[in-house]
């Protein structure tokens, strides 16, 4: 069958070592082999002493398999025709396009599946299943070729003249040294630094709290006990442009707020908190009016809104910042200033 594995002689570029006797003999044997034996043609298993599968075919089973494959191909053909018919007949706007999607997708998938299944069955049931072995030649080049290749490389290197041509050598070094600089420059686009922008929102003293959807200011009494509203600073109502400003206004029943500081920062059982989760910055407003839990939908951080928005569950590291509010002369809610600490998730320079 095949020859024993031949050890590859250890060699170094530029030095010609004589072949060992054994390697020379192996190479001789390889090149003297007839072409068929070198692995260009498959050899029947019989001649290789491999257990031969006689594949005794029952003509009735064979005919049945042929029909199986044939029926699959006919299904594929019919489905392709059905695709065209469906495309012409079905109203593409019916049921938001669902009918069309079902018909076209289903028929095209049926066509491809039946075709593929037919081919697989063909291969499995009809093609002969004899075991075949294909030989390959060994995976190294003859000594002469290796030597010639080395010579070519060395000659080419010498002809480039890097050793003797100073201009070439120095200009190449300069180009090679400067090439990485443009790549480093691109890192500048990671900036500019946020400076103090992450520390401030659009809230200022006297700015009204307006409903994010109706853009109307909120008067005391508009929110029922147990109610909640998403508010933005008046004049900066677009959440996309004021991503740090969204705030929730909650009204408690009298006596429900457990923290004195929280109650004093609010106004008559109304309190305002940042709507940006202190963990990953998700908008957070799953409010439970009986437990006073505020749940973040992203990672289940839960804040106790009756007690300074303390974290009672989840990955958030800090309570939500509270906005000091009061009402103006007309009874509209206004901010008493900006948040006293940065809202939203942690950032590098937050401290």
């Amino acid at each position: 069958m095949s020859d024993a594995p031949k050890p590859r002689p250890a060699r170094k570029i530029g030095r010609r070592t004589p072949l060992t006797d054994k390697a020379a003999a192996a190479q001789e044997a390889m090149f003297s082999r007839p072409s068929d034996d070198a692995g260009t043609h498959p050899v029947p298993a019989e001649s290789l002493d491999i257990e031969h599968d006689p594949a005794q075919v029952d003509p009735r089973e064979d005919k049945f398999a042929e029909w199986q494959v044939g029926v699959l191909f006919i299904i594929a053909a019919l489905a392709a025709v059905g695709f065209v018919v469906a495309y012409v007949l079905i109203d593409p706007n019916a049921a938001l396009g669902r009918d069309m999607n079902y018909a076209l997708g289903g028929l095209f998938a049926t066509s491809l599946l039946a075709m593929g299944a037919g081919f697989v069955l063909w291969a499995k049931k009809i093609l002969p299943h004899d075991k075949m072995v294909q030989e390959r030649h060994d995976f190294f080049s003859p000594e002469e070729e290796e030597i010639a290749t080395e010579d070519t490389f060395l000659k080419g290197f010498q002809e480039m003249g890097l050793g003797s041509r100073r201009v070439l050598r120095r200009s190449l070094l300069a180009a090679g040294a400067l090439l990485p600089i443009p790549a480093v420059m691109l890192l500048r686009d990671l900036g500019p630094l946020p400076h103090t922008r992450l520390r401030h929102t659009a809230w200022r003293e006297g700015i009204k709290l307006v409903d994010v959807e109706s853009k109307l200011p909120i008067k005391i009494g508009d929110i029922e006990i147990g109610g909640i509203a998403t508010v933005m600073p008046e004049g900066h109502e677009e959440p996309d442009e004021n991503a740090l400003s969204p705030t929730i206004l909650i009204r408690f029943a009298p006596g429900e707020i457990r923290s004195k500081k929280e109650a004093s920062w609010g106004y008559q059982d109304h309190v305002a908190y940042s709507k940006i989760c202190s963990h990953a910055g998700c908008p957070i407003s799953l409010y439970e009016q009986q437990t006073h839990h505020l749940l973040c939908p992203c990672h289940q951080s839960t804040f106790d809104m009756a007690n300074d928005a303390n974290v009672i569950f989840g990955p958030a590291a800090r309570r939500l910042p509270q906005l000091q509010i009061t009402v103006d002369g007309d009874g509209y809610f206004v901010a008493k200033g900006d948040y006293s600490q940065p809202v939203g998730p942690s950032f590098w320079e937050r401290g």
Binding site: R98, V120, S214, G221, D222, E224, G227, L286, E288, H293
Partner: protein, 264 residues
Amino acid sequence: MSPSTFARRLASRRRQLASAAIVAVALGLLGMLYAAIAPRGSAATSADPAVDEGRSLFQSLSCASCHGLNGEGGKRAPSLIGVGAAAVDFQMGTGRMPLQQHGAEAPRKRPVASEGDILKVAAYVASLGPGPAIPQFDAADWQKADTAYGGALFRTNCAQCHNFAGSGGALTYGKYAPSLSDATPTQIYEAMITGPENMPVFGDKQITPDQKLAIINYVRTIKTQADPGGVGLGRVGPVTETVVGWLVGIGVLVIVTIWIGARA
């Protein structure tokens, strides 16, 4: 038996009868007196027979066993004074009340009482104190309802808990926001104005009746909308879609690959 003994006995019997009569008269007088001076909680509304029927239903449907004989609340249940007819219609109409058992969330189930009985109990509870009434709206109101605006309002105020398609979602410690698929327009409206369980209250000054109808119209619209992709998968978003894509899609591919590779 001597005559004197007989007379003594007769006298004794007479005394007994007399004392019994005095007690009976005194009790009768006391009862009349009580009826005259006793506070009449629902005397003003008892002109409405529904309130009286509602009160007896309130007790026979076992509402009173937790909420108290006069709806004053107790250790296990809140006071119903001032919750209004809308809260009763919502809680009983969705089958959440009477409560089967205490738990994180009262599940929606088949209503125990008939619609008429629920309205009677609602009338009784409404008579306990002022609260939101059962909302009334008709086809003309729907004409004004702006579905797209309702969608925007829904996504701002409702979707965080009830999901953008009203499929509901989990809250903390076993509580959940229910799916809106079975809720009627009236029930959605009642939920907004009463804030059942842990839902915040959205009063009419915060979300106007027109805005509420717009929200309800949006919910009605998405409920009847077909899923263009064929299967909605609960319409809960990318989580189920990814799970189905990986398990079903790749699972089928693996099975087919094994079939192709298997020997005939």
